[in-house]
């Protein structure tokens, strides 16, 4: 009996690795600490009422962003562990299995659990405000999206301590990731964790498309929308049409692994390449999902801090539309080297290169927005400016990869690794950092310290180049990705040392940023006006942080840069002036939280093939949905007195 339990535990828990014991201990300790702090300050009820059951997009956005920062930390630690292992030849810091798990979780977490929630978080924070709406179209669904993402991320991270992490790369190619070559729960975690988060993301896409299409303030025609809203609309569109593909790919591989089907196996006629095909049909649009919102943010930031209209507004919009359509017809460039005919490779080579054209249009429009401007080098602006040359390098190396015969030489080498970090960090991460500094006052009511912000910017940005530029060369020297070690005598060592130094430098830059967050929360300048930067769009028309209902009166829009126009006309006061009408708001609800956690248990059951857990949990999920369907009283009115009280508390009424 005891032996049975022991055997079970040693399978269940990941044993025998000091690093993981360390993680176990720190997880337990931080859990205990959280529970203690919450109980000590009697915050349980507050947590439940204000956060866990909230369906206010602004708060959901903040939760997304917190999750994203935590995941950036986790993914960053993974990165530093990897770098430590491959700095010198023949190191023994991590063994092969461990290294494989780490790059898999690093890539997966960074893209799906860091970049995605960061973006969706920013959309939640800014889009309803920018279009002058009170919330998103489906607030309840929005909360469900968040909690699905959250439990997906939790499930994925759990693999580290229970059962073992996935180890087949974030791309999870079959047959390597199939049941035969990769038995055990690790890969199941990947499949189910991504599935949960992916469904949440799909719902977000639907939600934001409906929000932006239908809930804009009166007068805000499509071509008067702020650029971030435009980018969110187009990103949502890509999400809606790309994520179902991920859903299917994951489901098919799950069915292969759990129920013995033969989609991607080698045996019984399965087609391993079909996985690569489906994965990239989703995967390529995915990289534009994570870059387009960043483009939108750069447009906002560059225009705001050049104190000038965005140059070529229409071209900016149409180039994004074109990018979104093209993003669905280029996926094969990720497997040029899988023996395709020359015709296939030619077509996909050219379609890929074509994306350079609309992207170039955007780059030049940003440059010409700066032109004739009055450039103010705020921290947010520095991130936006640094984006231009850094992303340029990444984009151009992308075009080099798009040349199929040349890709035969670059594919899966560090040249590729360098490319995608250039665009993911130089584009997406820089964009998110710009957004963080830009919208921080809108989220929390105080600005981040500029000096610390600039220090962290310079450290991070310079280290980023020290880290990733040499990677292009090690790639050309023949170093392939996903090698847990390399032999001596190939001349790869010096550059790898430089790369690792850069990686740690980025860590330091990030620490300064975190310190800035802490410092500013305590001492940072409070933003009383709601408009700290001389903003141009509607989110700056309301208070910082925005009140629950966003705007006491829905603003009327006449031009693009609506708020700037109001300021020029002197009509800004109208948004918060009496007389008020009661405001219709949806009720908070615990159901999304509960439903998501039920799905977590269903997922956990599937990971270990414990159907006694999976089936009841899934059934309970359906039950919650049925309850929801029968729920008719899910909204309330904020009475006029309360609006008056809130508005005068913000000092906007007298």
């Amino acid at each position: 009996m005891i032996a049975d339990i022991k055997a079970f535990l040693s399978d269940f828990l990941v044993l025998g690795d000091p690093l993981i014991y360390g993680a176990d201990i720190s997880i337990v300790l931080s859990m205990v600490a959280i529970v203690f702090v919450l109980s000590y300050f009697k915050k349980w009820k507050w947590l439940w009422k204000e956060w866990l059951t909230t369906i206010d997009a602004k708060k959901i956005g903040i939760m997304y962003i917190i999750a994203a920062l935590l995941m950036l930390f986790r993914g960053g630690i993974d990165a530093l562990l990897m770098r430590s292992q491959i700095t010198f030849p023949n190191e023994g810091f991590l063994d092969s299995q461990h290294y494989n798990e780490i790059f898999t979780t690093h890539g997966t977490i960074m893209i799906l659990f860091m970049a995605m929630p960061f973006i969706v978080g920013m959309m939640n924070v800014a889009v309803p405000l920018q279009i002058g709406a009170r919330d998103v179209a489906f607030p309840y669904l929005n909360a469900l999206s968040f909690w699905l993402f959250f439990v997906g991320a939790m499930l994925f991270n759990l693999s580290f301590v229970i059962g073992g992490s996935p180890d087949a790369g974030w791309t999870s190619y079959t047959p390597l990731a199939g049941a035969k070559l990769d038995p055990g729960p690790g890969e199941n975690y990947y499949l189910i964790g991504l599935q949960l988060a992916g469904i949440g993301t799909l719902a977000t896409g639907v939600n934001f498309m409906a929000t932006i299409l239908k809930m804009r303030a009166p007068g805000m025609t499509l071509f008067k929308m702020p650029m971030f809203t435009w980018s969110s609309l187009i990103t949502s569109l890509i999400i809606v049409f790309a994520f179902p593909v991920l859903t299917v790919a994951l489901a098919l591989l799950t069915i292969d692994r759990l129920f013995g089907a033969h989609f991607f196996t080698i045996a019984s006629g399965g087609s391993p390449m079909m996985w690569a095909n489906l994965f990239w049909i989703w995967g390529h649009p995915e990289v534009y999902i994570v870059i387009l919102p960043a483009f939108g943010i750069f447009s906002e930031v560059i225009s705001t801090f050049s104190h000038k209209k965005l140059f070529g507004y229409k071209a900016m919009v149409w180039s994004m539309v074109l990018i979104s359509a093209l993003s669905f017809v280029v996926w094969l460039h990720h497997f040029f080297t899988m023996g395709n005919t020359a015709a296939v490779n030619s077509v996909f080579s050219i379609s890929t290169m074509a994306i350079a054209i609309p992207t170039g249009v955007k780059i030049f429009n940003w440059l010409f927005t700066l032109n004739k401007g009055r450039i103010e080098f705020s921290t947010a602006m520095l991130w936006a400016l640094a984006f231009i040359p850094n992303f340029l390098i990444g984009g151009l190396t992308g075009v080099m990869l798009a040349i199929a015969p040349a890709d035969y030489q670059y594919h899966n080498s560090y040249f590729l690794v360098a490319h995608f970090h250039s665009v993911l960090i130089g584009g997406t991460v820089f964009g998110m950092f710009a957004a963080l500094h830009y919208w921080w006052p809108k989220m929390f009511g105080h600005v981040l310290n500029e000096k610390l912000g600039k220090i962290s910017f310079w450290i991070f940005m310079v280290s980023f180049n020290i880290c990733f530029l040499p990677m292009y060369f090690v790639g050309l020297m023949g170093m392939t990705r996903r090698m847990y070690t390399y032999p001596e005598g190939l001349g790869w060592m010096p550059l790898n040392v430089v790369i690792t130094i850069g990686a740690f430098g980025m860590g330091i830059g990030f620490i300064v940023m975190v310190y800035n967050i802490y410092w500013s929360a305590r001492y940072g300048k409070r933003d009383k006006t709601g408009d700290p930067w001389g903003g141009r769009t509607l989110e700056w028309a309301t208070t910082s942080p925005a009140v629950e209902y966003n705007f006491a009166h829905i603003p009327k829009v006449e031009t693009a840069d609506a708020f700037l126009h109001m300021k020029e006309k002197g009509t800004t006061g109208q948004i918060s002036k009496a007389p008020f009408k009661p405001i219709h708001m949806p009720n908070n609800s615990g159901k999304p939280f509960i439903q998501a956690w039920l799905m977590f248990f269903a997922g956990f059951g599937l990971v270990f093939e414990w159907y006694w857990l999976a089936i009841p949990a899934a059934a309970a999920t359906m039950l919650v949905m049925a309850f929801r369907s029968f729920e008719y009283h899910d909204h309330h009115y904020i009475p006029v007195e309360e609006i008056e009280r809130t508005e005068s508390a913000t000092g906007r009424l007298n």
Partner: protein, 298 residues
């Protein structure tokens, strides 16, 4: 702000040094055969075009920052919102660049389908040789069907001779990459593929798997030894005379997941030749029911 752009220029300069100077260790930029050479030419051509784009963008970037980055710079115009001519310009130039890239890309793609053209000026046509390359977890098997030889983790080829590589996989996918001789192709179970390599000079060219295949992946490197024609024939003779035969038992052992050193066999089980396709299928199957009579129609 200037620091940022200067740095980018520095980086560019560094890149140029790498291109012109010590490229011996930079395998991709050191092509040693016609296949790699074609790819190298494309790389250089694309690099030149990219450098032009970088220069163009950086010049504008530096100009606007320097000109409009000061507190009281003249020419501030908050209403400046577009310029049809300029916008047309930066749509058309990229289109031209893309065309300049696309044409040689397509040409090269079709060119790579056949054997490389003879490299030396004599232009004499040489009979290609064929090597069947199979990746197994985690080693490379090289089979010379005509010579009847099998080697592990290294292969010998005659110089200036097109070598047809037939790629197969048992187990996970890998990718066959010898950067100095040719860009890679995947090895895939159930999908035999071909590629060509050719070496201009005798030498020892390092290759490795470029596609992750599990625990032993990092150790999946191999050597391609190019020899003068006569030496190649001598090597074949020597192997035939002095090396052991690959038995079925030994072969099955090789298929087990493990890393291995270099090995040489004077022959391999003939059954592998005959029931080649069926045999690979068999080895790849995880259950035996579908086994040998799997339709290998493709």
């Amino acid at each position: 702000m200037k620091r940022l752009t200067l740095k980018s220029l520095g980086v560019l300069a560094l890149f140029l040094v790498f291109l012109t100077g010590c490229t011996n260790k930079v395998a991709v930029l050191n092509p040693q055969g016609p296949v790699a050479k074609q790819q190298y030419d494309l790389i250089i051509w694309s690099f030149i075009l990219m450098a032009i784009v970088v220069a163009g963008v950086l010049i504008i970037f530096i100009y606007v920052l320097v000109r409009y980055g000061r507190k009281n710079s003249k020419g501030y115009d908050p209403e400046d919102e577009g310029n049809a001519k300029l916008e047309a310009l930066w749509t058309i130039i990229p289109i031209i660049i893309v065309i300049l890239l696309a044409v040689p890309t397509v040409k090269t793609l079709y060119g790579l389908e056949g054997p490389p053209k003879p490299a030396n000026a004599t232009g004499k046509k040489v009979e290609p040789i064929t090597i069947e390359v199979t990746s197994v977890d985690w080693k490379w098997l090289f089979r010379y069907p005509k010579q009847g030889i099998e080697t592990v983790n290294y292969a010998v080829i005659p110089e200036d001779t097109p070598v047809k590589i037939k790629l197969k996989a048992i187990g996970a996918m890998n990718s066959f990459w010898v950067p100095e001789l040719a860009g890679q192709q995947y090895t895939m179970p159930n999908m035999p593929m071909n590629m060509w390599i050719q070496a201009d000079h005798p030498g020892d060219y390092l290759g490795r798997s470029a596609n992750f295949s599990g625990k032993g992946f990092a150790h999946m490197s191999f050597h391609i030894l190019a020899k003068k024609d006569a030496n190649f024939d001598a090597w074949v003779k020597d192997v035939k005379a002095n090396k052991p035969a690959l038995t079925m038992e030994k072969y099955k052992k090789l298929l087990e997941p493990d890393i291995a050193g270099e090995m040489t066999f004077s022959s391999y089980p003939k059954v592998l030749d005959k029931k080649d396709a069926a045999m690979e299928q068999h080895m790849n199957n995880d259950d035996m029911e579908g086994g040998m009579n799997h339709d290998s129609g493709h």
